[in-house]
Amino acid sequence: MTIGTLIWLIPLPPLLAFFIIILITNRNKRLSHTLSVGSAILSWIGSMVVVWAAFNSEHLGLHPFTSYLAWFPTGDSWFVIGVQIDPLSAGTLFFVAWTILMIFIYSVGYQNFGQPKGDYDRAGLPPQGATVSDVHGHSHKVPSIEPMYSRFFAFIGLFAFGMYLLVVTGNLLILFVGWEIMGLCSYLLIGFWYGKPSARAAMIKAFMTTRVGDVFMLLGIAYLYTATGTLNYREIFYNEDVLHQLATTSTGIFGLSVAGLIGLLLFIGAVGKSAQWPLHVWLPDAMEGPTPVSAMIHAATMVSAGVYMTIRIFPLVSAGAEYGQLTPTMTVIAFIGTFTAIFASTIAIAQNDIKRVLAYSTISQLGFMFAAIGIGAYVAAAFHLIMHAFFKALLFLGSGSVIHGMEHGVLHTGEHIDSQDMFNMGGLRKKMPATFWTFLIGGLALSGFPILTAGFWSKDEIFADAFGHNHWAVFITLALAALLTAYYTMRQITLTFLGKPRTHAAEHAHESTWTMTLPLVVLAVLSVIAGWVGIPEDFPVLGGTIPNFMHEFVGETLLEHPEMVVFSYIPLLTSLVVSLGGLTLGWLVYRDIKVGAFDPVQKALGPVYTVLKKGYYFDELYDFLFVRPSYWLAKNFAYMWMDRKVIDGIINGVGHITGLIGEFLRIFIDKPIINGFGDWVGKTTKKLGFLFRPIQTGRVQQYMIIALVSMMAFSAIFYYLLVFTR
């Protein structure tokens, strides 16, 4: 079998597993998860073979593994799709294969395979626990198996198909297909427990928010196709003439070049998918889904697809700019990335839900990557992408294991506490050692603990690039963000694992099964050693001991090879300081939290803390900006008090930070525009509704007649314009 054929085959097993499970083995839980994990293993083997071949082949960037297939005739030409493994996709494939396989295995344990059926469990609700009586006859509650076990594995199988498809394809349209498949799976899996209203809301929110981005992305793809007549990477991104021609022809919009505009549109898609500001709101809520889902979709693979795609289109984005300087699009990307990094990390320090912390941390880390891309350091971005996938997946799985242990404790003791609130935990170090150590490694990697961890090297490279090209704003902001990252990471670790147990549940928590701990260990190992492939040559002491494989390899992906920035001590020291400083700070603040005590920072920051905790009221803001108006437009405006409350909420929140902005909002926006607008929109919509009501007779033919008449009228007008005005 040629390598090309193998690449084609990689995505298939999970898809087959999906269909088989849905259609046939739905009833049999064991068979279902065997199928699913087996398919994951198959794909993993295939990916590893391909990746190994890729690592061993000379100048993969120049001659990537490709295999093309004429899909369907478009007039005279053919629409050609294909698979392509170049250095970037090889690296991505590497971590995708690992994380997906690990998470598949983890899911078996997480969904309580082998546990008895729940007493009151119903499909669509998380398992409530089952009562079993042990040998001594007295019965106690234990976790119960997920009612929709097979369905879960079918869904993640479909998701794996989408992700593999997105990685191996060499065509932007197929990438979009995989992209949307993943969007669907994310929707389905966030709302996996559709019995919970919050989950339902979250799934719809996630779908809608990403949709906003995807529409723009589709526009970009269509534009790109019209501009170049193809969607294959090699023919666009690896083709000087096309790039130059795209970069030089200018569009009327914002004075952007065609390349810039397309890049911007595609980037908006990435913003939606990778939950960057301002489309970040869906990711925290997405934590409603089962933790493996959060780990796989919302940390490791899907959200990083946005970064992957943006690195893909980097030539388009950077077209027309000399190396080191920025195009407008790159500036936008850099700004959004940087801003998101700091913004999300500030929110993360005030979250108590163990998963929400990680969610915001994911957002901010993705921000790091986008910032790196924005300043042209796409190698660093790719590096950080891969490392982040490992340790963030590890962290999520670890948190899942923690929650699992806590739930076990809750079931055992029967006290009613939120098993995800970190303030209910503490002292889990002794209870679940494996989870603790792996989580610690992950946390250190996330906070960029020097030398050892992968996160250090990748982050350090971003710093080095930012510093080396004198992007001071980016550099400083990212440094701050990194400080906060280290801080909240340590806060999380301390609250969760160190100190004394703060609840009985925490006392009775215990270690998870091997199916859950094994992936933790593997990922922990990966998130330590994986970083060593990217050590800069001229790094003191270590430099050159291991060749900077990352840079050599991924650097070849594009035409212009980025030269390595000269080494300087400032970024190195910065990253040392921020990571160590953040860690110590976090430990100092949270080292002894009493039972039922509040977050000490809360007193220090006062109202700001609430603002942060509420994530700068972005949900409320969007609710008020987009959701509520749509209610108005749809129905009526009888809920003024509601939005008044919302507006006040915003004014309080913002006003506490800067009274000035508050004043401004109230005087210039709130009263005249918002309320007036609200009233006006409501009234007019109602009027219009009454006006146009009779048209909707529900008779198809009448609709068709109206449509045809208008069509003919328009075509007549156009004909007149086109012919007679010439």
Partner: protein
């Protein structure tokens, strides 16, 4: 010999008659008949262009074949829908099936 214009005009007429049927008929099945007429008009055009423009390329006939398949599928599903509608509402006249109104 026959100039292509004859075929085109014939097809246009057939299409418009079918269109009229679709727009004006009461009974849903009659509407389906109108749709069939329109599809046939399209096919006549396809074949005529194939014969007159590029007899050496077969694309026209291929498209016609695909249209056949689509027509068959459409009729099957359409009639099934009408029959089930008839079961539930006792009518297949389109101006009585107007549940989607305000």
């Amino acid at each position: 010999m026959i100039p292509i214009s004859w075929y085109l005009i014939f097809a246009a007429a057939l299409f418009c008659i079918g269109l009229f049927g679709v727009l004006a008929r009461r009974n849903a099945i009659a509407i389906l008949m109108g749709i069939e007429l329109m599809l046939n008009a399209v096919n006549v055009n396809l074949i005529a262009f194939w014969r007159y423009a590029t007899p050496e390329k077969i694309n026209g006939q291929v498209f016609a074949v695909i249209v056949f398949a689509v027509a068959a599928a459409e009729v099957a599903v359409g009639l099934a829908i009408f029959i089930s509608v008839y079961r539930r509402r006792g009518t297949v006249s389109t101006d009585e099936i107007d549940l989607l109104k305000w």
